[in-house]
Amino acid sequence: MNETTVTKVDSSEFFEALGADMARRVEEYRVLGDCNMDLGIEMQRHDGEPFRIVLHFEGLESPQVIVADPGSDMPLADCKLEGPLDAWEEMIADIRANGSATGLQTLNSLTLIGDRIQVIGGDTMGVDRFFRYNQTLQAYFDGAATL
């Protein structure tokens, strides 16, 4: 458990903290192998102003967190995960309660049902990267259990 608990999901600090957790558990990620993709994240807040970032994964490094300026478009990414902030918060709450995502709260399950969080991409090959690196991405988000 970290000394500082990061609770605000729609913040770059949250994703930086997930990256720091990834760096601490790099040996677990080494078993999963290199991950090379740009994953967009879009959370629709209640005030209508979306939170948008791109996670730039390369090898076993913690992803670079690129925050979109308010009002600007999402930076280029292979694909993006998009949904209301409530859905993201529920997913993270499930991870924190169970140590990792369970049931329908995994990234794959949420996007397969697609009624709350969707995987979207202009190129099906970009979307397929979400499947090619899915275990790494899930491990990255499961790191929220330690924050």
Partner: protein
């Protein structure tokens, strides 16, 4: 290595003509082979990749293979090397622009069905759920090995100038062996055992294996069959009763997505370089889709998936089957999207019964 070509040539003049055994020696490899001298590709952060070494004449992948040998590109060759009889001697017949990347990815992301799945954390499940999981795993362990058998059938026919494709298909064979293993292990490890095999499954496997050309084989296997199985794996993760099954399906999903990525981009590459081949692919998919429908809608798989989606038999009618229908619709639209990416416009031609899955064909066209 610090020497220069000139230094080597000078020092080589005093080398012996015969070995201590009295056998003649040939120093032309030392004196003459200077064309790539000084080439030193630099390793990147991940090590020295196949992309890193694709420099100089070695890095040039010819559109037409220059010979039918295993001699590496970029090297010197005797003129009388034997003909190894390769049948696929054009780059467009096997290549994909992402194949080198996919090979490195596959090597980096191998996993072990013995070590990396927490088998000792399997939980006792209700009988109906365990049976459904075992029926699904029986079907998967039955079909997965075709994606090893088929590349194996064609690998030795591919010219060695396209080694990167052969290396990638080697990783695919390893992947599929592991999938066969992991689903067999799951069926046998929690009390349920291996269940029923059906003709529809074997008909699909036969159709894929008996494809007349590699082009048709790749379309049927990578684009159609593995694309469908990739979506089954996605559903499998969704319906997994515990984290153990979720991890099995996620790990298998990653591998399968690489195979689909190769197939999609291979078909695209081939059509771009030989547009006439599109009709050959369409013909294969015309029949392949029909067999796939029989496989995908076979009574064992649909009922097992529906039970898993419903969490048991009790709610299978009001919950399991409607959700399954929705997911099958997504599978069909995913398949069509991949066909489009590959340069195949299937929407107007396909006989897939979209209406059965509640899909408006015109809406798919708009997307």
């Amino acid at each position: 290595m610090t020497g220069t070509g000139t230094d080597t040539e000078t020092s080589a003049t005093s080398l012996p003509e015969f070995s201590p055994l009295g056998l003649p020696l040939d120093w032309t490899w030392l004196k003459g082979a200077k064309s790539e001298w000084g080439v030193r590709p630099k390793p990147g952060p991940r090590g020295l990749t196949m992309s890193d070494i694709a420099v100089g004449s070695y890095g040039e992948v010819p559109d037409e293979a220059s010979a039918r040998t295993m001699a590496p590109r970029g090297g010197d060759r005797d003129l009388d090397l034997p003909d190894l009889g390769y049948l696929l001697n054009r780059k467009s017949e096997v290549w994909a622009d992402n194949v080198v990347e996919l090979y490195e990815e596959a090597v980096a992301r191998q996993w072990s069905a013995t070590r990396d799945i927490p088998w000792n954390e399997l939980q006792e499940l209700p009988d109906d759920v365990e049976h459904a999981m075992c029926q699904l795993c029986t079907m998967l362990t039955e079909v997965e090995m075709v994606a090893a058998d088929l590349p194996a059938k064609w690998l030795w026919r591919m010219n060695h100038d396209y080694l990167e494709t052969k290396m990638f298909l080697g990783t695919q064979i390893m992947d599929e062996g592991r999938h066969t293993e992991v689903f067999r292990k799951r069926a046998l490890s929690n009390g349920g055992g291996l269940l029923k095999s059906r003709r529809a499954v074997e008909d699909l496997l036969r159709t894929i294996l008996q494809a007349k050309t590699y082009t048709q084989a790749s379309a049927l296997l990578h684009l159609l069959g593995e694309g469908f199985v990739l979506d089954i794996f996605r559903q499998g993760e969704l319906i997994s009763p515990t984290h153990v099954e979720k991890k099995i399906f996620r790990m298998a999903m990653q591998d399968e997505a690489r195979h689909v990525a190769y197939g999609t981009m291979h078909i695209r590459y081939e059509i771009e370089h030989d547009p006439d081949v599109a009709e050959e692919i369409h013909e294969a998919l015309d029949s392949g889709e029909q067999v796939l429908m029989q496989f995908g809608l076979n009574p064992d798989m649909t009922s097992a998936l529906a039970v898993l989606l419903a969490g048991g038999t009790e709610h299978v009618e009001e919950k399991g089957f409607p959700l399954l229908q929705q997911l099958l619709g997504k599978m069909m639209t995913s398949y069509l999207a991949r066909c489009e990416r590959a340069g195949l416009h299937r929407l107007e031609r396909t006989l897939i019964p979209f209406e059965m899955f509640g899909i408006d064909r015109e809406q798919v066209a708009v997307r």
